[in-house]
Symmetry: C2
Subunit: 682 residues, 2 copies
């Protein structure tokens, strides 16, 4: 990938020249940035003599992690670290080990457990000290990110780090219903989360399109309501174990009473309306809903949730509760009568009744109930935890009512917004006045990976690396908020994420080769490098363009969020417009030339690959706006100002370029518009 | 990847210009080539109206396969094939479906089942007819490979195909012991096998380094003898089900009596010699062996093999039997006495005794016993099937003794030999005189993917695409043996293999990004494109360079077998030496220039990435031989002949270039040598 390659080079230089600034920021090459970091002049070289000593009251988790740490270190450096007894247990004065890990007590994998650690390089050793092994595994990830090299080989630089998370709940919701994600996808997602110190995997396990966990009590759930794609209970236990080994809690979500088409397909007797229920193939909000007036519903849910909650050792159990249209309640006589008899005025009163019935059921299993914003109605007890997706008002509303809450509004990574947007979305900004108790009730946040538009092939590119920016927001201090520095480190962490098995970088070439049908992918690469998929909910026009069976192997799937090239081009143009320089002019000119000339090559590709026809207009528009950009640069170079007709023509081109194709949009239009306007003296 | 890209383009042109020749060969773009193929002028366009009708006595396998076929077709073309009732059951006269599949009876997944099919495009439909659904699923793979496109869109070309396999056993051995392969790797391997119509996955499940299946009767096998990496019984059933859905048998192998360090680590009481058994970390042939004189061994093996064979529905059960050093028998007094008392002269007589005791145990489970060459000793009954790895003599020897046998000699894909070598290795060449019955006893062959030097990251690149050439050897007629045409189609099938999830193309960029440590990978790409890992068993020097814990993320892992660029360069040079042309000269010159100039860039990379230091000499040598090649081209161009000193100098460079580095060797040395010798008038 020509462009990526060029950018990596730029990045590498940037790393070097901006080190001093990074030191000031306490970010170094680390993401998330630690709470406190000082550099010292020590240097611990890495060679075959490397060994780890674990000391103190640790549990198995740290030994396994240390062993995997060794393998990763070996894979990164090519050094054979295999002929030694590398993880040993000795006293805290051991000076023969390269890395000494001191742990005070075994960590409990639960909300609020101590995850802090210190990491100090002295003249002979790296010393990690932590209250629990959970802190120590974070330290090992930090250490992997610290690994440096020069002509003398690999080494750990001299540092003094003292680190702990700002928020205790740093989660990622993975929706495995709308598109199923096999166990290996979940596992590599967990590996990625561990790299950036996230500690909650929220699995969204049932919705209108399917029920994704084997039930031994209600087997129709997987037999009739899953299309045969679900996790067996053994697989769930495997996922939970894998997460535990990485210090990550797994919180399950089974949505009720709405978003239950799948459950009602298997067990229609619990529906509000008699219908021929079938698994939903579209995405969106639908009417099917359970009947809270049916007394048999509660024993059913009690059995089901008891079985499901037994698979997940975590304290929290998420019952969804979102997006009930209420229509199936309001249009059903016996439910209407029930509401009247209880003095309920709107359908949400009935949902509150349902939740009140559900709460003791959840509590009986020993769990704390949580749900989305919608469950927060008058009368809901404070012990219920709120996950907020509807906005800050909703979030701080629940906090002020005395609920514990986690923020997801602003972290909807399925909406294809740039990392910078999510990065600056602080759960506890200075602008909101909160008491100390209220602050404590802000548990943290969760990125949400809804899977309407993703498959196992593309999911990594939708989660990573952007989610690393959210992980930093939730871990690091509030004042770590320099967007440029975040993007600098995001490129570095992206490679760390790839090294644990994530496919966010490799999937592109793969899909492009398929799209190009065996022909040269170069012109496709050039085009894709300036495209992003349509954002927010625009891509799925009218909510009916796509179904669960649609192909997600097309242009909008190859195009990824937050493209780097348009971002750098924008930066260059902005600088150029303030202060021209021959180098900047040349760089901008060369980039525009590539875009301008790409269309003729791309046209040849389309002939051989009809799937790319949808991109023909995008490619043409890219060529036209690039040409307009080139003319602008020339006018600016010549210090001549073109006439109004020229400007009008160019603005027409800009306008047309906003026309989308292939569910994508070109990302350099606004930047070129700035060039045009400047050239025209505006 | 600049070079790959250029090569795809070359390939694409080659496809077009050589179509006529390919038609003559009956190969078209298909791999394996069908038994008979004619083209006709029909054309079935592909659009949203596409639908499949399955008719006749089929089983579930074909409906599931047809559904997945639709998804793959949709993913390849981007056409939304999701809003229709696409797989229906109608009578055989249905003319509304685009694809009509007629099946006579449900297929049994067993050796020798009818896998034939016909595929005919008439004016309105594609019609597939087959005796069993196993034939029909092969037809669907053929149809996916037939899918074509032009400016008018996607279509199935007019064909009349009549196809059936030459051999009934077309297998791949996957060793999951020396390096474990998680379930998702096994599944994508099965997907790849289905693409090229292979029908046996031979799982090598126990060896000195581990025992890889959960045993409920002997749990120490997974607890003590697996490092915690093994398949649960549920996972085995999942793999077997997944394979069945693709018409692939799964044959398990549990090696006895040697290669049993793992079993003896868990149950040392069955060893010939009392020792502190620990899992073997090295690769090779070791002394530990079971004690055939211990009567308790046989009930143990009976229970174990009964449990293991119950997990695999296939008729065949592989007991290994290879590479017994015999030392632990010959050096143990009670075993020595036992042998003497039975009149056994050499340790292999004792192994024959052991096998004779084992045979009824295997038969009791309802299975047919098979093993490697070594088990074929005097007195072994004909019912035992031989897998031959030691050479043709061994193979035809067992055939002539009346055994059924499969060939693996010549299909050892772990030895990094080119596809052409495997391709021309025919199990039934004309040179061997066999009776009709003997011919029938040649069941087929198996590629063997031993996993000493591979991991889940690199495994696909070691199996694919080369194994597709072996698949063709086992499926297609003997006279389909044009190497150039095979390589032409291998590039095409390689993309089909990628589209089902294989990572043989994507893993390179991933590992190169890691090796380049965030810097530009271009110079590494240039170097790697002419490198192959050391072949045969050379890479693992003295069998002790690598262990199961070694890093397999280095230069020799990025370098893949059977590199295309050196092959094309060689072809170009050979043509050039027969008949020069300005175009050829320019092409050769340009390639040599890239290689010559690469070293200075590569040197910069090494400074930042010490892991690449091992490649420094390779890069330098590449530069020097490329320079020598350029001089040669210049002499030839100028029609001047250099002196003997020049030749001697250049031959010295050639000699030095053979010096290896990073467990790799440069692949263009011999070709440049030809240029030098020609220039020197030799």
């Amino acid at each position: 990938m020509i462009f990526l390659r060029k950018l990596f080079l730029i990045l590498a230089f940037f790393c070097l020249i901006s080190l001093t600034q990074a030191q000031v920021n306490n970010t170094f090459n680390l993401m998330p940035a630690p709470a406190a970091l000082k550099l010292n002049s020590n240097r611990i070289g890495l060679d075959q003599r490397f060994r780890i000593c674990v000391n103190g009251k640790a549990n198995k988790r740290i030994y396994d992690y240390a062993s995997r740490f060794i393998r990763r270190l070996s894979n990164k450096t090519g050094i054979f670290l295999d002929k030694l007894q590398y993880v040993t247990v000795k006293d805290s004065k051991d000076i023969s080990s390269t890395l000494l890990i001191k742990i005070h007590r075994p960590g409990k994998l639960e909300l609020g457990e101590d995850e802090s650690y210190s990491l100090v390089t002295n003249a002979k050793q790296v010393i990690v000290e932590s209250e629990t092994d959970l802190g120590a595994i974070h330290a090992l990830e930090t250490l992997l990110q610290l690994l440096s090299s020069d002509a003398n080989g690999y080494y750990f630089p001299g540092v003094e780090i003292s680190d702990k998370p700002r928020f205790a709940w740093r989660g990622l919701l993975l929706d495995v219903v709308l598109h199923f994600m096999p166990v290996d996808v979940v596992k590599r997602t967990l590996d990625g989360m561990a790299v950036v110190k996230m500690n909650v995997l929220h699995l969204h396990l049932s919705n209108d399109q399917g029920f994704r966990v084997e039930s031994k009590i209600f087997p129709r759930l997987q037999q009739v309501a899953s299309d045969g794609i679900f996790y067996t209970q053994e697989e769930i236990r495997d996922i939970v174990r894998y997460a535990d080994e990485r210090g990550i809690r797994v919180v399950p979500e089974f949505v009720v009473p709405a978003h239950t088409t799948a459950i009602l397909t298997a067990y229609p007797e619990y529906a509000s309306v008699k219908r021929d229920y079938k698994l939903q193939r579209y995405f969106g909000v639908f009417d099917p809903v359970m009947d809270p007036t049916n007394e048999k519903l509660y024993p059913f849910l009690e059995k089901l949730f008891k079985e499901m909650s037994s698979l997940f050792p975590d304290d929290y159990f998420h019952i969804g509760g979102d997006e009930n249209t209420g229509k199936d309640w309001e249009n059903t006589p016996h439910i209407k009568s029930f509401m009247q008899s209880k003095g309920m005025k709107k359908y949400m009163d009935l949902q509150t009744y349902f939740n009140a019935r559900l709460l003791p059921i959840i509590k009986k299993t020993g769990k704390i109930m949580m749900g989305w914003d919608e469950i927060l109605q008058p009368g809901v007890p404070n012990e219920v935890v709120i996950q907020s997706w509807r906005g800050n008002e909703s979030f701080y509303g629940s906090i002020k009512k005395g609920h514990k809450a986690i923020l997801s509004y602003g972290y909807y990574i399925d909406l294809i917004q740039p990392a910078s947007y999510h990065y600056l979305n602080d759960p506890m900004p200075d602008s909101v006045k909160l008491t100390d108790q209220e602050k404590k009730n802000i548990l943290g946040g969760e990125a949400t990976m809804w899977s309407e538009m993703i498959t196992p092939v593309t999911v990594d590119s939708r989660i990573w690396p952007r989610t690393a920016a959210i992980a930093e927001r939730l871990w690091s201090k509030q004042n770590v908020n320099n967007v440029d520095d975040m993007y600098r480190r995001l490129d570095i962490v992206s490679l760390h994420l790839e090294s644990v098995g994530l496919q966010h970088l490799t999937y592109k070439d793969k899909l492009m080769r398929q799209l190009a049908n065996g022909y040269d992918t170069k012109s496709l690469e050039v085009l894709v490098s300036v495209l992003e998929p349509l954002k927010i909910y625009e891509r799925n026009e009218g909510d009916t363009m796509y179904t669960v069976f649609s192909p997600f192997t097309k242009l909008a799937d190859v195009a990824s969020p937050d493209q780097k090239l348009p971002r750098i081009f924008k930066k260059n143009v902005e600088e150029f417009l303030i202060q021209t320089s021959p180098q900047l002019e040349k760089s901008i000119h060369d980039e525009l030339m590539i875009w301008k000339e790409n269309d003729s090559e791309f046209k040849k590709l389309v002939v051989n690959s009809p799937v790319l026809e949808e991109a023909a207009s995008l490619s043409e528009n890219l060529s036209l706006i690039a040409a307009a950009g080139l003319e602008s640069v020339q006018y600016l170079h010549d210090k001549k100002i073109p006439g109004e007709t020229w400007l009008a023509q160019k603005m027409e081109i800009i306008k047309r370029a906003h026309k989308q194709g292939g569910r994508c949009e070109i990302q350099i239009i606004d930047t070129v518009q700035k060039l045009i306007e400047k050239a025209a003296g505006k």
